[in-house]
Structures are given as structure tokens and as C-alpha cells.
Assembly symmetry: C2
Homo-oligomer: 84 residues x 2
Amino acid sequence: MDYIIIVGMIAAFLSTVSSLPQVIKTIKLKETKDISFWMWAFLAVGIFLWLVYGLLKTDLPIILANGISLFLVSIVLGLKIKYK
Amino acid sequence: MDYIIIVGMIAAFLSTVSSLPQVIKTIKLKETKDISFWMWAFLAVGIFLWLVYGLLKTDLPIILANGISLFLVSIVLGLKIKYK
């Protein structure tokens, strides 16, 4: 496999799962004072549009990565609203 | 312009600038207790690799979006380390 593809796949994996430590931390801590609501709101809409873009282009890697991201980002956004 | 491209451009814009409200909030608040270090560490490495991927493919939109993202994400990561 081309090494450029491998770089892209590691990049996609890391940026996709990066929200997971925040999900775990926020569930444990039950505090979101230092977290920006607008960051997670912009991110949720942005990733939702990436998912729409992937669906319109029938591009499976974009659909998969952003589907997982949207799930994780929605949890953090939901917790931010809950523990406001 | 194709409407699919417009969806992709709005998605890229929103996900790129989403860290900006967090940068502003953290500079004002000087507190990062609720923010996950590992989220921003994974994100910084992930976006750095996206930038490398864009440079290897000479893909200007990927270079631009991830260059701006890396700048913003690095600030949040630096503040998280500073106010630990």
C-alpha cells in the first residue's frame, strides 16, 4: 500500500477517535465549565455536513470516519448542555 | 459550482474554525480542568498528519484547512499544559 495512504489513514483514525477521551472525562467529571459550547456546536454541524458530503459522493471512508465522529461529538455536546 | 462542493466547503470551514471559540474561552478563563489533555494531543497529532498528507499530495484545500486547524489546536494544547 502507498505510504501516503497510510499517513492519511492514521490521520483519519486519530482525528476521529480524538473526542473519545473527552467523552470519558466528561462522563466521569460531570463538569463542562471550561468547555466551549460553540466549539462543539460548530464541530457537530461541520461533521454532520462532512457526513452529508460523504453520502452525496458515496465515499465510504468519509461516511465511516464522520459517522463515528458525529456520534462522539454529539455525546460531548449533549453533556455540555446537560451540565451547563 | 456543484452543490456537493459547497456542502464540503461549509463542512471544512466549520470543522476548521470550531477550535477558535475554545481558544478564546480558555484564554479568558485560564482554566482547563474539564478539558481532556489526550483529546487535544490526539487531535494535534492527527491534524499534523493530515497536513503531511496534504503536503505529500500537494492538495491545497487539505493543507490550508489543516494548517489553520493545527495552529488553533496547538494553542489549546499549550494552554492545557500551561494551566494544568
